[in-house]
């Protein structure tokens, strides 16, 4: 079968990207960049930012592939198959560019402009950041305009994008973080996964749905969503309609929760650890966990790191749950084929989790960040070590806010009107240093807005420079990971069709919704009561 479409769009998208990169680099778009506050994405001439590098690199790839598609008659095979995805990848990226560098900052500007009229910042309250808008853009594209046939194969790469993001995320954890999170996640996930699977099977028996339906629904609702349902289907002999019912229920719940969780989390004032633990436990589908975590904290990666540890922990439960379902099914269905325990565990083990571990080990060698910059027994990429310390591990006095400098800032604190910036400033005045990277970012934005005097700005600059900055390679990994997730989530939006959600219905929807709600509320209560620390 030939997959390559002779379409002009690959070439056009490539030319648009290169032209955009050129206009940004040449400074033609400077008024827009200034208005939307995009300077951080443009970078400097000696180190261009993502708004220049990404359009150039992706655009050139698209132009080369676009020309190849016209010049060469494609032959059936792997080259034809994999190159046919390029057009769709560029299609997703163009939408992501528009959302991240256009709609998101524009909504931020509008939100601030409308604040005096509305009484609140709609951009912040409705959580309309680039992650949420990117997924919405994907959903609107597929349901209103349809995906062009030349882009379909590229859209089917979005799950690969999400998995690659998770694997790369392994680089960013420290031993200490993993140790802190592992115990908490194993206990919580074990309780909620086993509890949800058991509850679905129990409700299924009471409501007399077929064992195959109960089995596949319990894996989907209990473990990690669509992939778990598909993985469990063969061992319970699920029919395709039963898989479709399960997928419909999970997507309906996953999409709803992906938008609701971040709003609730922000209203409750959760910290990244609490929200990450809640999303990683309470949201049914893996992809939507990443979406909710990034929607909660679009400019940072802490929440995503916590959420993915919880998500990976529950994915690790998949082989065990599939084995349980296989044994459960054999007990209840006469004529059901017995399975080998070892082969089930082996065949259902999610290999990309091993990839995550490989990247974690590579990161732990210190090859991406010089050990001398990062304190701790092993090197540490965590954001706990905010202010530089001496050899004994004590914070250097010179790096703390002096009383004299504190007075300068206190005298001008009223000039800061933004709530988040005010909180960051108050925290620094109290603790004599920046207490989180988010606070550090807010202090930098106060500095950049020039609302304070030159003297006060100098104090802020001093405090900002006292904060550890991640090593360049680690920063690059963060940017790359964020883009893989952005790509994956816009593509994920394009896979959420009304037709697939409409498949939800009947008893599976009732049981799935009940257990999904119990899981979301139950995990919220547990997290709220037990998870207090910032890991």
């Amino acid at each position: 079968m030939i997959y390559t479409h002779k379409t002009i769009w690959t070439l056009i998208l490539g030319i648009i990207m290169v032209a955009f990169g050129y206009l940004v680099q040449a400074g033609v778009l400077n008024p827009m960049i200034e208005f939307l506050n995009l300077a951080k994405f443009v970078g400097k001439p000696e180190s261009p930012g993502e708004m220049i590098i990404l359009p150039f690199v992706c655009g050139i790839i698209a132009i080369v592939v676009g020309l190849w598609q016209f010049a060469v008659k494609p032959k059936e095979g792997n080259l034809d198959y994999y190159l046919s995805t390029v057009a769709g990848v560029m299609f997703i990226l163009i939408i992501a560019f528009v959302v991240k560098w256009g709609l998101d900052p524009l909504m931020g500007v509008w939100g601030k402009a409308l604040k005096p009229t509305l009484g609140f910042d709609i951009h912040s309250v409705m959580n309309l950041n680039y992650v949420v808008m990117g997924i919405l853009a994907g959903i609107i594209t597929v349901n209103v305009f349809n995906i062009p046939s030349w882009a379909e194969n590229g859209v089917r790469l979005s799950r690969l994008g999400l998995k690659t993001g998770v694997v790369l995320l392994g680089v960013l954890y420290s031993w200490q973080e993993l140790a802190n999170l592992a115990g908490l996640s194993v206990v919580m996930i074990a309780a909620f996964v086993l509890g949800s699977v058991g509850l679905v099977l129990w409700m299924g028996a009471r409501r007399k749905i077929p064992n195959s339906m109960g089995g596949v629904l319990s894996a989907g609702v209990g473990v990690c969503g669509v992939s778990a349902a598909v993985a469990a289907a063969p061992v319970v002999n699920a029919k395709s309609t039963e898989i479709a019912y399960t997928i419909g229920t999970i997507l309906l719940w996953g999409v709803l929760m992906m938008f609701i969780f971040p709003i609730v989390g922000k209203q409750m004032g959760m910290n990244p650890t609490q929200f990450g633990a809640w999303a990683g436990t309470g949201i049914l589908n893996s992809a939507q966990v990443a979406g909710a975590a990034l929607a909660f904290e679009p400019d940072g990666i802490d929440t995503l790191k916590v959420a993915e540890i919880f998500n990976i922990t529950r994915i690790l439960f998949l082989p065990i749950i599939v084995l349980w379902l296989a044994l459960w099914y054999v007990e209840r269905e006469a004529g059901a084929q017995k399975v080998s325990h070892g082969s089930v565990i082996f065949s259902k083990f999610p290999l990309f989790v091993l990839g995550f571990i490989v990247m974690f080990i590579l990161g732990s060698t210190g090859m991406f960040a010089p050990g001398s910059e990062l304190p701790g027994k092993y090197f540490d990429n965590s954001e706990k070590h905010l202010v530089k310390k001496d050899k004994e591990g004590n914070v250097k006095e010179s790096k703390m806010l002096s009383d004299k400098d504190a007075e300068v800032l206190k005298a001008e604190a009223d000039k800061v009107t933004d709530g988040t910036q005010k909180a960051a400033l108050a925290s620094m005045l109290e603790n004599k240093k920046a207490t989180s990277f988010e606070h550090d970012r807010q202090l930098a934005s106060i500095m950049n807005s020039h609302v304070l005097s030159v003297k006060a700005n100098k104090v802020l600059k001093k405090m900002h420079s006292a904060v550890y900055k991640p090593a360049p390679r680690i920063s690059k990994f963060r940017d790359i990971i964020a883009w893989f997730f952005t790509f994956g989530l816009v593509g994920l939006g394009m896979q959420i069709t009304m037709a697939s959600i409409k498949q939800a219905g009947g008893q599976p929807l009732i049981i799935g919704s009940f257990v999904g709600a119990v899981k979301a509320v139950g995990s919220l209560i547990v997290v709220w009561l037990l998870v207090k620390e910032i890991v």
Partner: protein
């Protein structure tokens, strides 16, 4: 879901999850190599 595509499903271009996982691992290693050699 399979009928429309000769390889993979509506969710992935790969024939099975394991191939997709290997793809993610290979891609990650390539990126790690590039970051290690060209950043700093």
């Amino acid at each position: 879901m399979k009928e429309k595509f000769d390889r993979g499903t509506a969710l992935t271009i790969f024939r099975n999850d394991r191939l997709e996982d290997i793809g993610a691992l290979v891609l990650s290693l390539v990126i790690a190599f590039l970051v290690y050699n060209f950043v700093n």
